[in-house]
Subunit: 201 residues, 2 copies
C-alpha cells in the first residue's frame, strides 16, 4: 500500500490524499509537522534530502517527492490527467504556475498569519505575499470568470493543485469575494464527488 | 514556425531555445527584457496574463507558458522525456524542484548581484537566497556525486532545467567548487552535442 508522509493542514499534502481518493488508490498516512521540525530529522531527510512534505513511499520502496510530480504520477491513465499533447500541457502550465506564482504567496501568507502567528514580526514578507497572491488570483480570475475549470479538459489535477491553497486563502488574508469567478470555482470543485475540504485551522 | 518570446540572459528562456535546438524544431526569437518592463506591457500581458517569460506561440496561435510545461511539451516523444511511469515522474520531480527550491534562490541571487547590481540594497533577500541556494545545490550534489545525470534515464529535460541557472551560479555568488559532483555534471551537460552555454553577463 502507498504510504504518504504529510501534514494534515498542508495544502500540498492535501493534493496527494485527494488524487489518491479520487482515483481509488488506498494509502496510509504518516503525520509530519513541518512547522515543528518534522522534515528536518535525519530519518525524514533520508527519505527526502530536500526536507519537504509530501512524500509517498510505494510498495517497492521507491520514494516520490514534489506534489506536482506526484499528482501527475498518481493521475496517469485517468481522466484527471489528459494524454500527452496540448491538453496535458495546459494542465502542466497550471501545476508550475501554482508552485512558482501561487503557493509561495498564498500558502506562505496563510502559514505566517494562521499557523506561525507572526503577522507583525513578518510584516514585510507578508506584504510581498499579498502583492504576489493578489496577482496570482487575478490570473486565475481571468480564466475562471468565463470557464468552469482551469483547462478545457473538465476537472483535472490542475484544479486539484490550485484549489489546495485557494480554498484556504482567507486564512492568508485574501478575501475571495474580490475574485468572484475564483470563488464560484472553489465551490464547484469542492462539490465534486470524493473531494474532502482541507480542514480549517 | 514556433515563436519564442524570451530574454537571452534568462536561464528559463535558455531552456526553451535549448530543447527546441536539441529536438530539431525551428523557431524564431523575440527578445523581451523583463528587467526593463518588457513583460508588463499590455501587448505582452495579452499573451501571458501572468507577465512572465518565456512564452512560445505555436503555428495555430496557441500560447504556451511556464518553462517546465514547455520543456515537457517540446520533449514529448523524444528521449529527452521518458514515457509515462516512474522514469517520467523522476524527471518531473526535478522540474518542480527547480522551480520551487532552486530557481527562486539561484536565479534571483544572480539577478540581484549581476543584473540589478543591488547586492547592498537587497542584502537581506540575498542572504535568504544564499541559504536556500546552498541547500538546493546540496540536494543536487547528493545525486550527482555518484551519477552522471539527474535521473537514471540518461540526459533528459531534468538536466536541461537544472543546468539553466546552475551553469551561471557563480554570477549569483555560488562557488561550484564546493559541490564537485555538480561542477563535473555541469561540464558533462555542456559537452553534449547541440548545447550552447548561457552567455555570461
Amino acid at each position: 500500500m502507498i504510504t504518504v508522509h504529510g501534514f494534515t493542514m498542508s495544502g500540498n499534502c492535501w493534493k496527494i490524499a485527494t488524487i489518491l481518493r479520487l482515483t481509488g488508490q488506498p494509502f496510509r498516512w504518516v503525520e509530519v509537522d513541518s512547522n515543528a521540525g518534522g522534515t528536518r530529522t535525519p530519518a525524514f531527510l533520508a527519505l527526502n534530502p530536500n526536507g519537504k512534505i509530501p512524500i509517498a513511499v510505494l510498495d517497492d520502496g521507491a520514494v516520490l517527492t514534489e506534489s506536482g510530480a506526484m499528482l501527475c504520477h498518481f493521475a496517469e491513465g485517468t481522466p484527471w490527467l489528459p494524454p500527452p499533447g496540448l491538453a496535458r500541457t495546459r494542465v502542466l502550465e497550471w501545476l508550475f504556475f501554482e508552485q512558482y506564482s501561487h503557493e509561495p504567496a498564498i500558502a506562505v501568507a496563510r502559514n505566517i498569519i494562521t499557523y506561525l502567528k507572526q503577522a507583525d514580526q513578518q510584516a514585510a514578507r507578508l506584504e510581498q505575499c499579498r502583492i504576489a497572491g493578489e496577482r496570482a488570483l487575478g490570473v486565475m480570475e481571468r480564466r475562471l470568470a468565463g470557464h468552469d475549470w482551469l483547462t478545457d479538459s473538465g476537472p483535472t489535477i490542475a484544479d486539484i493543485a490550485l484549489i489546495a491553497y485557494t480554498q484556504a486563502a482567507d486564512e492568508g488574508g485574501f478575501e475571495l469575494a474580490r475574485w468572484p469567478g475564483v470563488r464560484a470555482w472553489v465551490a464547484r470543485v469542492l462539490a465534486l464527488p470524493g473531494i474532502e475540504k482541507l480542514p480549517a485551522a
